[in-house]
């Protein structure tokens, strides 16, 4: 077997043209700047206080006079709870562990506002992010005590004054006696479930309270009992890297590498998915432009294939650059400023073995699929042809992504081990297996196997390319060849 010679200059020129061909388009730059544009829009929305979901004005028409205040209090409690959780999570993300503890203690003792002030003192402006979590539902006094009149306010026929502004009523919670207590929710925007959900939650809790009261029990007692429940710790008997005074208890440090491997595997999948499709369309474009034959007098088939692979790889990297920078920035941020357990986990993730094999499988996975799609592009004569040819591979490629959750949950699963040997899924499966420290020989052999297959696919792609481009017979040519050679039938 002789691998064809490659002239690097010509390969570079083909790669460069392909790269610039895409980079010079508007679509590319729109995609490139989209994350930044979205970020700016989000920042503007936060800064300007504009909300995509405007404030809803709800009222409670409580004919029993028993529930209105309790429902409003439940809404306040819910909001306080969400704010507490968000503030605590925000603290865990951006504060060192000791300060997070202080923050949580302060929230528990003095409330959310004190927590917000603490966060602002540590990182100016950070506490204000909590605004986003605030409810956009405001309970107002009913402008009328008759449901029929309230309907006119909901339809917009009438308006009422709130904080000096004319307001339309969005919904009415109607509580009344009719063979027992009944509660209805009236609203022209019935798809917004917030008030309806709150009412349901209130009556469920009321029902639970009544049941508990029958046994001289209370909701508070039930909550306390739940909080006192035993916590179950997870231990890993294979864990050997024990810190001073540590145990085999599983912490975030142990979980992070699996999560990171899953994200890297997804990143590779995304690269292959977008890159392979670009290669296909790029090849189809060349074919439709009728330029390949002229180029073939000046370059080799393999140079065109490698040039395209390189050009689109550079393009994919450029397109993903904002996400790569964001990802690297996040990892560095966590390592230096984040929770020490997560930081330690990230340090454990990016070992030399992980980085080396990630690069190897990234390259091999991309080359393997890329060469495949180039060959398909050479066979296709139209976008319809291309879609027909690629659908089965796209289905397989989509199915391959299933190895990521399997790898994160059960890295020793036989399916995953098989997937790391099966060429179509090997790149994704091998990466997601890395944190479970599979034997080096398995990884090396899997990479070698995929490498040999990639060379085979390139050589096959060259043959298909040569046949597809020069015979001008596309898919029909391939089917005719199949009939002649395999089925031994005559073709027209």
């Amino acid at each position: 077997m002789k691998f064809p010679a490659i002239n690097m200059r010509r390969t570079y020129l083909i790669a460069r043209r392909d790269y610039l061909g895409y980079v010079k388009t508007w679509g590319f730059w729109i995609s490139f700047f989209l994350p930044f544009i979205c970020g700016l829009i989000y920042a503007f929305v936060l800064w300007s206080g504009v909300s995509v979901s405007p404030t809803r004005y709800e009222t409670i028409l409580d004919e029993t006079g028993l529930h209105k205040a309790a429902i409003i209090q439940l809404d306040k409690d819910n909001r306080e709870k969400i704010s507490t959780e968000v503030l605590s999570a925000l603290g865990e993300t951006i504060l060192p562990a000791a300060q997070t503890k202080e923050l949580n203690a302060l929230i528990a003792e003095k409330g959310v506002q004190a927590g917000q002030d603490y966060l602002n003192a540590k990182i100016p402006g950070a506490g204000n992010k909590l605004k986003a979590a605030e409810s956009r539902m405001i309970f107002v006094e009913p402008p009328s005590h008759d449901l029929a009149s309230l309907k006119a306010y909901m339809r917009g026929d009438k308006q009422f004054q709130f904080d000096g502004e004319d307001i339309k009523l969005n919904g009415v919670i109607h509580i009344y006696e009719d063979n027992g207590i009944n509660a209805d929710y009236w609203s022209p925007n019935f798809n917004n479930p917030e008030a309806e959900r709150l009412t349901k939650k209130y009556f469920k809790r009321l029902s639970t309270d009544r049941y508990l009261a029958g046994g001289n029990l209370s909701q508070k007692g039930l909550d306390a009992a739940r909080n006192e429940a035993l916590t179950v710790n997870t231990f890993d008997p294979t864990k050997t890297d024990l810190k001073e005074g540590g145990s085999q208890k599983v912490t975030m440090t142990d979980r992070v590498p699996y999560l990171a491997a899953g994200i890297l595997s997804l990143m590779l999948w995304l690269t292959v998915f977008s890159g392979a499709y670009m290669l296909l369309t790029s090849m189809l474009e060349e074919k439709m432009n009728k330029l390949l034959e002229m180029m073939l007098a000046s370059t080799r088939f393999t140079e065109i294939i490698f040039g395209k692979l390189l050009g689109v790889a550079a393009l994919t990297i450029t397109a993903m650059l904002p996400y790569i920078i964001l990802g690297i920035g996040t990892v560095i941020g966590f390592i230096f400023f984040g929770d020490p357990e997560i930081a330690e986990g990230l340090k454990n993730t990016f070992t030399i073995k992980m980085v080396v094999f990630f690069i190897i499988f990234l390259i091999l996975g991309y080359v393997f699929y890329g060469a495949f799609f180039i060959a398909l592009g050479a066979l296709a004569e139209s976008m319809q042809d291309a879609q027909t040819l690629t659908t089965p591979i796209m289905i397989v490629l989509s199915a391959c992504i299933l190895v990521v959750p399997i790898g994160m949950e059960s890295p020793d699963s036989p399916i995953l081990i098989f997937a790391s040997w099966f060429p179509l899924s090997a790149p994704f499966a091998a990466i997601v297996r890395l944190p479970s420290d599979p034997p080096l020989w398995e990884l090396t052999l899997s990479a070698l196997f995929l490498g040999i297959l990639s060379i085979g696919v390139i050589m096959l792609a060259e043959r298909i390319f040569r046949f597809g481009v020069l015979s001008g017979s596309g898919v029909k040519g391939a089917t005719d060849w199949f009939k002649r050679t395999i089925l031994r039938r005559k073709t027209n």
Binding site: A5, N7, R10, L13, I14, R17, G21, K24, T25, M288, N289, K290, L291, E293, M294, M295, L296, A297, S298, T299, R300, R466, L470, S471, G472, S473, D480, W481, R484, K490, T491
Partner: protein, 317 residues
């Protein structure tokens, strides 16, 4: 020192799906020659040229390009190839297209753009320099394609149907480009099914029919295969009798003149002298120049040509 032959082909054959496209074709291109590679559609011209460049591997036979295998590094940058099916990157400008091909053939970037600008100016395409290919007229785009193929000034030009699709004015421009290239001592082989171009430009022709080579030699030799013809007219009734000894066949045309296919030894001067001696007042004396078209018909026969025209090989063309 003997100059190396740019191309030699020995006994090459190629079939596609059981259909013979090229059968046992051999020829050698000598340095500095302009060769017309002629034949009707489906004669095997494009397949032969693709095999010459190594784009298609022959089923049998051998091809040597600059003494080596086609596709060897030594041949890159020495060939200018204009394929029958050609195009341009739609979003590139004319100068980018020409410079890109020149760079692929080994010219440095700065020089490649300089060459592109010079060529575009020289061939009246100055205004197209920064125009995107998709915005150019068909004629302009075709000129740019040709310039892209020849910008690196190669030693050997392979032009597959270069005149197809060009209007008469641009065909004339292309002919002048081919002459210019030839004047620089470069070697050219171009395929065409329009014999007139070959007649005007070539010093050697290779005739293909049905995948086989039917003639390979100087243009004059090809033309000599055609029986010489003459149209002669007079009011004198003795003319037919007088011409009979000179003619292989003789037929009367609608205007009363005679259409003669002359015997091999018949001589125009002798015919004229005989008429003068017999005091025959001639109204028309028109020796006909043989054409390559007639030579082709003479060599392959009318039936075969008609047969080939209706059974065009789709594969490989």
């Amino acid at each position: 020192m003997t100059l190396q032959s740019p191309l030699s082909i020995h006994g090459v054959s190629k079939s596609f799906g059981g259909k013979v496209a090229v059968e046992n074709v051999s020829f050698t291109v000598k340095p500095g020659e302009i060769i017309g590679f002629l034949g009707p559609n489906g004669a095997g011209k494009t397949t032969t040229l693709r095999m010459a460049l190594g784009l298609i591997k022959p089923d049998s036979g051998e091809v040597k390009l600059f003494g080596g295998q086609p596709g060897a590094e030594s041949s890159f940058g020495r060939i200018g190839f204009l394929p029958e099916e050609r195009g341009l990157y739609k979003k590139q400008t004319a100068r980018e297209s020409i410079a890109h091909m020149a760079r692929l053939n080994g010219i440095k970037s700065k020089e490649a753009f300089k060459i592109a600008d010079t060529m575009l100016d020289k061939y009246g395409l100055s205004e197209a320099k920064r125009k995107k290919n998709k915005d150019m007229s068909k004629g302009m785009a075709q000129k740019v394609q040709l310039l892209a193929a020849i910008a690196h000034d190669p030693e050997f030009y392979i032009l597959d149907e270069p005149f197809s699709g060009l209007d008469p004015v641009n065909q004339h421009v292309l002919e002048s480009i081919v002459r210019e290239i030839a004047d620089r001592g470069r070697t050219i082989i171009f395929s065409t099914h329009v014999m007139e171009h070959a007649e005007r430009l070539c010093d050697r022709i290779i005739l293909m029919a049905g995948g086989r080579k039917v003639f390979d030699g100087p243009t004059d030799e090809a033309l000599s295969k055609v029986p010489r013809r003459m149209v002669i007219g007079s009011d004198d009734a003795r003319l037919t009798e007088l011409m009979t000894p000179f003619a292989k066949s003789l037929s009367k045309r609608e205007d009363g003149t005679l259409d003669l296919i002359l015997k091999d030894k018949a001589n125009n001067q002798e015919i004229l002298e005989r008429c003068v001696a017999e005091k025959i007042n001639l109204t028309r004396f028109e020796p006909k120049q043989p054409t390559l078209h007639e030579a082709f018909v003479a060599m392959v026969g009318n039936d075969m040509r008609a047969d080939m025209d209706t059974n065009i090989l789709e594969v490989g063309q």
